[in-house]
């Protein structure tokens, strides 16, 4: 043994992982320069667009006489408070998976490595993974804020320091919560709890932040009162013990030249960071090991009585002839062949039993639904058709962006995951083409059910006539067909049969390409349709017609073409 020059375990793990990531990046770069350039262009485009929108919005809001600064400040407080909540959730979920559902962690546990070291590494890894999107989201916003407030250059490095101090706090909280949950709760119970917390939070927020009805009379005579009422419900974001409050106050104070106030909040963030960091980096070894052992020891037999009952019942249903209510339901459309029905039932069951799939979909569309339902409180003021149509197009954009996230996350990896089961599905006489077709149909139907309902609801809340509602429904129909076709097609063209984890399949080259193309398609579609809108001030039937032809061609090119190419590739597929 060589005790003199032993490198620390943390250093060793960091070295191995850096090397792995570097090789992965090199691999991606060497696959296709064009695609790498597209992704880079997309990222830069996102930063620029996001910055431009924030900049314009802040300048617009800042121009309200006497209220501009107040509104911008409140926006910052609110944004950081919401992002703090999201960071807490993402840290919890990512740290839980990284600590307790990770093959590397099990491997490291069998080596002479202290559980503290394993925990420290996994904590750092999880915090980085959970926080990068936050930094990516707020960087353009803070740059825009700096420009609007005409700050000096010191604002930017100071903000970076503050953000680093800030993101570590939800990391600590998420890590301890993950250990506690792993120790006392099984995976399914954990997923259901998380979902329940998410829904309750959503409902509470929807209730708490419910927009109040404002009459035209009030807008004309009592603006301050209205403003006060509108802002009253957002005061929670200025609760002095919220880390997001410390961050927002420090950022605002520095921009105003109040360096002592900034210093105070830097020290507050630092003291919490050091205290929690000291506790988290020193003591978690034993509770972490206990929790890891509990997770490994827990078959799926533990959990809550309700869950246990359900599984108990399922394990006793040994009658091969009975397929349950789903089977009975899908037997009603008699024209569906038996083998197609089998794949359909299997896919629906897998979707239903994978809490993360429908949980994420529910949260994403739930947020959108909460927003759309609240539109009724504003629609009374929306007398100008321009604003009504603008909001309708923005809703269409938001809905399709949500859909694109979900098709990339869940539809794209479908074929790769099926590849693992190719010994049964691929070898069955149904044929892979048919399997892909069934998956595409099912995904599109589910997407349409959700997005179509939301768009109809949006039009209803905006009090639009049924012809216009039909127009937007038709658009979302075409977009759903296209986005699902794109995700399914690219999933076949860029399969990854080595991975079991869908999120890792998506994070590869094909998944990123799918996401980029989906976003470009949505932006292109909204722009084309908005320019050729039949309700524009100088609308002409020819412009509308051209817009629809372009929309149709774009949809065929982005949706149908990759799908056809994918299906064609199946003929030559070698696994």
């Amino acid at each position: 043994m060589n005790s003199a020059s032993q490198p620390s375990g943390l250093k060793l793990l960091a070295g191995v992982h850096l090397r792995q990531h570097w090789r992965r990046l090199k691999g991606v770069m060497s696959q296709s320069r064009l695609l790498s350039a597209t992704i880079l262009f997309f990222l830069m485009g996102y930063c620029w667009l996001s910055f431009a929108i924030f900049h314009r919005a802040m300048r617009f809001i800042g121009s309200f006489p006497g209220l501009g600064d107040l509104l911008i400040e409140r926006m910052l407080f609110l944004l950081f408070a919401f992002l703090f909540a999201l960071l807490l959730i993402s840290n919890l979920v990512i740290t839980y998976s990284n600590l307790f559902r990770n093959r590397e962690t099990n491997f490291l546990h069998s080596l002479p490595m202290h559980p503290n070291t394993i925990f420290q590494w996994k904590f750092l890894e999880s915090t980085v993974v959970a926080s990068w999107a936050f930094i990516f989201l707020i960087a353009p916003m803070l740059a825009a804020y700096g420009l609007v407030e005409q700050v000096d250059w010191t604002f930017y490095p100071m903000t970076c320091l503050l953000i680093l101090q800030f993101v570590i706090l939800p990391g600590f909280a998420g890590a301890w919560a993950a250990i506690a949950l792993a120790r006392y709760m099984d995976r399914r119970a954990f997923q259901y709890t998380l979902l329940a917390i998410g829904l309750v939070t959503l409902a509470a927020l929807a209730f708490w932040l419910k927009a109040e009805q404002v009459t035209d009379d009030m807008l004309e005579t009592r603006v301050m009162l209205v403003l006060d009422r509108l802002l009253r419900n957002t005061q929670f974001s200025q609760f002095a013990f919220l880390p997001s409050y410390w961050l927002a106050t420090a950022v605002i104070s520095w921009s105003e030249g109040a360096s002592s106030a900034t210093l105070f909040f830097i020290l507050v963030l630092l003291s919490y960071g050091l205290f929690l960091g000291g506790v988290t980096m020193t003591f978690p070894g034993s509770p972490f090991y206990e929790a890891a052992s509990a997770v490994q020891s827990r078959g799926s037999g533990m959990g809550w009585p309700g869950l246990r009952f359900r599984r108990h019942r399922r394990s006793h249903s040994n009658d091969f002839g009975s397929g349950g209510w789903l089977h009975a339901l899908l037997s009603l459309p008699w024209w569906i062949p038996l083998e197609s029905r089998a794949v359909l039932i299997k896919d629906i069951r897998v979707f239903w039993r994978d809490t993360s799939q429908w949980g994420q979909s529910l949260l994403l569309f739930g947020l959108l639904a909460a927003y759309i339902i609240n539109l009724k409180n504003f629609s009374a003021q929306l007398n100008n058709p321009f604003w009504i149509h603008l909001i309708a197009y923005l809703n269409l954009g938001a809905c399709s962006l949500n859909l694109a996230t979900l098709t990339t996350r869940f539809v794209f990896p479908q074929f790769s995951l099926e590849g693992k089961r190719l010994w049964i599905v691929g070898m069955a006489p149904i044929g892979l083409n048919k399997v892909i077709q069934i998956k595409y149909t099912l995904a599109t139907l589910i997407s349409l059910l959700v997005t179509g309902s939301l768009i109809v609801l949006s039009c209803y809340m905006l009090r639009m006539p049924w012809t216009q509602a039909l127009y937007f429904t038709l658009v979302i129909l075409v977009m759903s067909l296209t986005l699902n076709g794109l995700a399914m097609g690219l999933g076949v063209i860029y399969p990854n049969f080595k991975e079991d984890n869908p999120s890792k399949i998506v994070s590869g080259f094909g998944g990123t390409f799918c996401l980029v193309l989906s976003f470009l398609y949505i932006v292109g579609t909204i722009l084309i349709l908005a320019v050729g809108s039949p309700w524009a001030q100088q609308a002409r039937p020819l412009t509308t017609g051209i817009a629809w032809v372009l929309f149709g061609m774009l949809s065929l090119g982005i949706g149908y073409l990759p799908y056809r190419l994918g299906v064609r590739r199946l003929k030559y597929l070698e696994i």
Partner: protein, 252 residues
Amino acid sequence: MIELRGLVKTFGDLRAVDGIDLTIGQGEFFAVLGPNAAGKTTTIKMMVGLIKPTEGSAVVAGYDIQQSPLDARKRLAYVPDFPFLYDKLTPLEFMQFTGQLFNIDPDKVRHQGAELARRFHLDAFLNKSIEGLSHGTRQRVAIASALLHDPEVFVIDEPMVGLDPQHARIVKDILKERSGQGMTVFLSTHQLSVAEELADRIGIIHQGRLVAVGTARELRDQSGRDEALESSFLRLTTESTESSEPEPTQPA
């Protein structure tokens, strides 16, 4: 070298491991057999400290795995049925990483690594990315890396899965050779021929209990009939099922 004392593991109402007492001496090659879900892997996981026993203790190389886990693991090597390897590293880099983790002198890693690579026929793959290697080659990389620090106790779960006959022979020979040099081997397998060929003693686990321990001959002799190990195994596991109380059905 390995002492399991009253080892119990319960999952909810199920006793997956039900009071195993076993002592395995230095240099002994011990094979454990058992039907699926008998409790073999759970026993191994408790032995290497991946999970805590509900009752009892496991002492490896003189150290209680729960009381002194790091001391025990320095002297222990564990290769699961599907070992984790860093996909983007090469076998050479992985072995260097393992060497550093076990604090082995770099010269020794170089020398021993080269020797193990030669013995396991890994020379041609040393600088290839692990992600491109076959299951059998990955298995050999894992076993070679686990042997790098000259463990006193070697625990291996289903080592022959994915190995072709030639490489299976190599793995068997090396494990037997190391056992002869004083390394204690605890091998879990479904292949009765492997156990019969290599093991000094064989244990049969069924429904969480160690229902029989002995040499292959002793196990055959227990029946009083001149029968193959397979027949003894089947009889022991069947008898044990019939004689035991029916298990309460567990949620799947």
